[in-house]
Symmetry: C2
Subunit: 195 residues, 2 copies
DNA sequence: CAAGTATCTCAACACCTGTAGAGTTCTTGT
DNA sequence: ACAAGAACTCTACAGGTGTTGAGATACTTG
């Protein structure tokens, strides 16, 4: 492999290089999962030597973690939802989470795919769900077993993403997200407010 | 690694050896997914030389496929369900699929985990869902958009398995399956019979 | 009972992986 | 202007991967 890349430090801001690596990492991890994504491929995507990836992030695992630190304030999302009328909670949550999770390029989706075979990633998804839904979600919910029903909400939304983006079930795949939200939202709503 | 296993053909029925390999493959694929499961580990589990695995199945992919051929008659399951009163469809489907998918040792679960990063496995899950639910499921369902709603049923059940067995959401993890079925069944029922 | 074939182990191959160390160029502080 | 350090590439290593070919043993068929 001929690289003809000039040796030594590059002119300009190193942070852009770092960000390029992180972006490439997100893409590769998202498309192939943790194991199949190789540092060499990530480096190639970022137009960088593989050793530089290690130089910046010490190890593949740490790169994965760094690439998936979520720039999201968990409280704010649910606060925004809570400000709307309770009858719309189901729709809000559904469209918000589907929109976020179901974008194959997004860090969240990448995490989800990786979680299948990687306990680190699974823990991160668990943490994400915990801080964005389980922890702050109880105000949204009424009726018995709130925690269980919140987890069922998460389950359903995750299941839809898996079925649509990973398994590729035909109907889910072809319909625009809005159609799906329309059918699912009442079900989520029902979970939130008990029978 | 010292094997001290006698060289040459073994006495007895070769089919038992073959089955031992398949069983080991199911375990390994189920626990680690397609990539992390190594032929060497599978061979070790089956107390067999790695080359024998290749001899029997030609390639890792073919082994995977062979290990997950489902000894299940798709029509029979749904026929049994259809014989019961329609008001119980939701509960039947829920407990049947959760019971089958959610057992971490089962071929179906193994398939599901592998599907995250493996298109072959994803296709197999898609096929399984198609032949057991989408294809023969329409008699169970009334109302508009039957296909979409059947896929949403599948999505939810898959999501529960993912959340429980892979992500390890606490409440779902600790509750016995029956509790979960009790809460989920009405929702599935609702999907089946429209609003 | 002999010959042929199916089942098996051993050793090794070619390849790919994450990562370390040495050397080169740029930037920063004085 | 210069030294110190940070950001980079190159080369290479050690270990693990699926897979192959040769040889050993058992079963099967005449």
């Amino acid at each position: 492999m001929v690289t003809d890349r000039p040796v030594g430090r590059r002119p300009g801001d190193p942070e852009t290089t770092r960000q390029a690596i992180l972006a490439a990492a997100r893409t590769q991890f998202g498309e192939r999962g943790f194991d199949r994504a190789t540092i060499r491929a990530i480096a190639a995507d970022a137009d960088v030597d593989p050793a530089l990836v290690i130089y910046h992030f010490r190890t593949k695992r740490e790169l994965f973690v760094a690439a998936h630190e979520l720039p999201v304030d968990p409280g704010a999302i649910l606060a925004a939802i809570a400000a709307m009328p309770p009858a719309t909670y189901g729709e809000q949550i559904t469209s918000m989470y589907l929109g976020r999770f179901a974008a194959p390029g997004s860090p969240t989706f990448s995490l989800l795919r990786a979680a299948a075979t990687n306990e680190d990633a699974a823990a991160m998804v668990r943490g994400f769900i915990h801080t964005t839904l389980l922890e702050h979600g109880t105000p949204l919910i009424t009726g018995p077993d709130p925690q269980l029903r919140l987890e069922l909400v998460a389950s359903h939304l995750i299941g839809i993403v898996v079925a649509r983006e990973i398994l590729g079930l035909p109907e889910l795949r072809e319909r625009p997200l809005q159609d799906i939200v329309a059918v699912v939202a009442p079900v989520i709503q029902r979970y939130l407010q008990g029978d």
